[in-house]
Symmetry: C2
């Protein structure tokens, strides 16, 4: 049975980390909230899970995945669940835990990237918190972005065999969902903060190589130019507000 991915249509957002894993693996899935309401899909189908009274373990928010009777929310937990099933993590517990740890750290970076344009509240418009956003974005560009990508560079350096690999890997020698997520984060950062991100990438060459290499994966290459890939825009996590790029 196909996996059901539930996430807001119209933005890549956190759903994209799950989508990339499903696409890279060539797994059958339904992107439910982007489907047809008249056929029982669409946003109402997603809201029935989040708000319905009959769901024993409702996720706090989307994205969430439905696989038969299992409902999993929280992006990193979804990937923890999918990783072995999609063969996007090695077999051992230590490696899987490490991939998950990397994913959770990238998730922290995603929160901070989001909060550059929403430092006061996610329910308010950007225009209502622009002044605060300017300050937060400066701290993000100067301190947080280099720190996060610097850590990624360090762990890429220390992963045996990366020096010889054309495309370095975060965990072991094969593609994992953590690589896909780092690709997506860098892609988003280049969209939102092109100047600041390029500056950091010059100092993190392995991160840059991973980012450049991941989309050469055959299935991902096809996905990235397809209509299934939502373009970046100013409703998602990564938004291009030039004033926030310093």
């Amino acid at each position: 049975m196909a996996y059901q991915l539930h996430y807001w249509p119209g933005i890549q957002g956190r759903g994209e980390f799950v989508r990339l894993a499903l696409e890279a693996a060539g797994a059958p899935y339904l992107d439910v909230a982007r489907g047809d309401e008249e056929q029982g899909a669409g946003v109402p189908a997603m809201m029935r899970v989040l708000q319905g009274n009959d769901v024993t373990r409702p996720p706090f928010a989307c994205p969430f995945l439905i696989d038969g009777k299992v409902i999993v929310g929280q992006t990193a937990a979804i990937l923890l669940y999918l990783g072995p099933r999609l063969k996007l993590v090695p077999a051992g517990e230590a490696d899987r835990l490490w991939a998950h740890q990397v994913q959770l750290t990238l998730a922290d970076l995603v929160v901070e990237a989001h909060d550059t344009h929403h430092p006061v509240g996610s329910g308010l418009y950007y225009e209502e918190q622009k002044k605060e956003a300017l300050r937060r974005a400066e701290d993000f560009r100067r301190n947080r972005l280099p720190k996060f990508l610097g850590w990624c560079e360090t762990i890429l350096e220390r992963n045996t065999g990366n020096a010889e690999r054309e495309v370095p890997r975060l965990v072991g020698g094969r593609l994992t969902y953590a690589d896909l997520s780092l690709f997506q984060v860098v892609e988003g950062l280049l969209y939102a903060f092109p100047k600041a991100t390029r500056r950091v990438l010059r100092k993190t060459p392995l991160v840059a190589r991973l980012h450049a290499g991941v989309p050469r994966h055959k299935r991902l290459a096809a996905y990235l130019v397809s209509a299934r890939r939502v373009p970046f825009n100013e409703q998602g996590i990564f938004r291009r507000y030039p004033e926030l790029d310093g």
Copy 2:
């Protein structure tokens, strides 16, 4: 061999979620950074793992746990690892994933609680971002806090058997690390936002009962009055700045 917990001394912070699990289980552990520098412990011992060149998989930040050759960072990942070993989660994959999902959602709440006093940057003092903090805290009290604790109430309501239990449980019928973490979050919220939190707890009676019940656990009761429990203070995640409590 005793577990090694590495976390900043002087604050409860994110280390406390791990500490509560270890204490509840009566597991032997060393609180390394609070140990004696002359005996090879203390903050330098922690920094050697975070910044040393010889650690293959360095965590991005503390807390992290060392168990023999395994190093695990990210609070929720540490608890994912410890849960089965400390018998603080049920046996099945679905239950463990659910406990983890709850933990990750509580971690999101913790970030938002922290950001009420640091909406601009974690490297700046509160006094440098007080104006922004006042706005962010208002949004937190009005919207986010009720939403998060409301979700906890819902999942407590839907966990079979809680109506009959004196102390409700988040996952299954026995104490899990998720219960300990919700206790800790409520404890912190009551410290930082006593007025706003009491208002919300009046509408989330199961959360209130869980919070009141957890510290009756024998080992936890002893721990909570011991010197091992760092008091709340204004350097941690939960800080009492009365102006942020509205």
